[in-house]
């Protein structure tokens, strides 16, 4: 399998401004606290991702994001395994997004956490396509 393409929040923000879909895979309670404030946003919680990934359009560019970029990397690979060819992972998640001053609804209180099974210990294995962050 090819490595996933990973982009930084700055690049992701630019793409969302152009209308690219951002898929947030955080859990509902995380979303309720703070969410990406972008035009095209879809929520597919990681805990439901295996059952609901088909809701994500396969024929357009998609950015996958989470809290710190671990769950979203797994979700990105999962989609690649299922034939999604235009999917990229946003590194560092909403935490870095908010630190950069990009639009967020609500207040981000949790600065760490979230991973494969809910924690943040997944290992990165993607292509870092942008060094702007």
């Amino acid at each position: 399998m090819n490595n996933a393409v990973e982009i930084c929040p700055t690049t992701a923000f630019g793409l969302t401004e152009k209308g690219v879909l951002l898929v947030d895979v955080r859990e509902p309670e995380e979303f309720a606290e703070a969410s990406f404030d972008v035009r095209n946003l879809m929520l597919v919680p990681f805990s439901q991702f295996e059952e609901r990934y088909h809701e994500i359009p396969a024929d357009r560019q998609v950015i996958i994001a989470c809290h710190v970029g671990e769950r979203s990397l797994m979700a990105t690979y999962f989609l690649m395994n299922h034939g999604y060819g235009q999917v990229v992972n946003m590194q560092h998640g909403i935490v870095r997004w908010a630190e950069k001053g990009f639009p967020v609804k609500g207040e981000l209180k949790r600065k760490s956490g979230g991973c494969c099974c809910g924690s943040n210990s997944g290992k990165h294995a993607g292509n870092h396509s942008s060094g702007c962050c």
């Binding site: 399998m1 295996e50 797994m74 690979y77 210990s121 990165h124």
Partner: protein
């Protein structure tokens, strides 16, 4: 010999399953090879997102939780 793989990224729950699997295999004297798979790309070849997961002879038999000893024995010996 059974081929047992524990899929997990190294978090506490994943380590818990690995320890439980090793304990059951030792206690029940099951002839098995055990491998812990932590690489995301390798894990995703099994199309599993809910971790930890248990793979026996190439079949995903459990995902997203750590079962009790009796269930684990059943999963490893069926």
């Amino acid at each position: 010999m059974k081929d047992v793989k524990i899929l997990g990224s190294g978090c506490a729950k994943c380590n818990l399953l690995a320890d439980a699997v090793k304990a059951v295999i030792a206690a029940e004297n099951i002839n098995a090879s055990i491998e812990k798979v932590e690489d995301i790309q390798k894990i995703l070849t099994y199309n599993v997102l809910s971790l930890p997961a248990l793979v026996v002879d190439g079949e995903v038999r459990l995902k997203g939780r750590v079962p009790d000893r009796a269930e684990l024995k059943d999963l490893l010996t069926r």
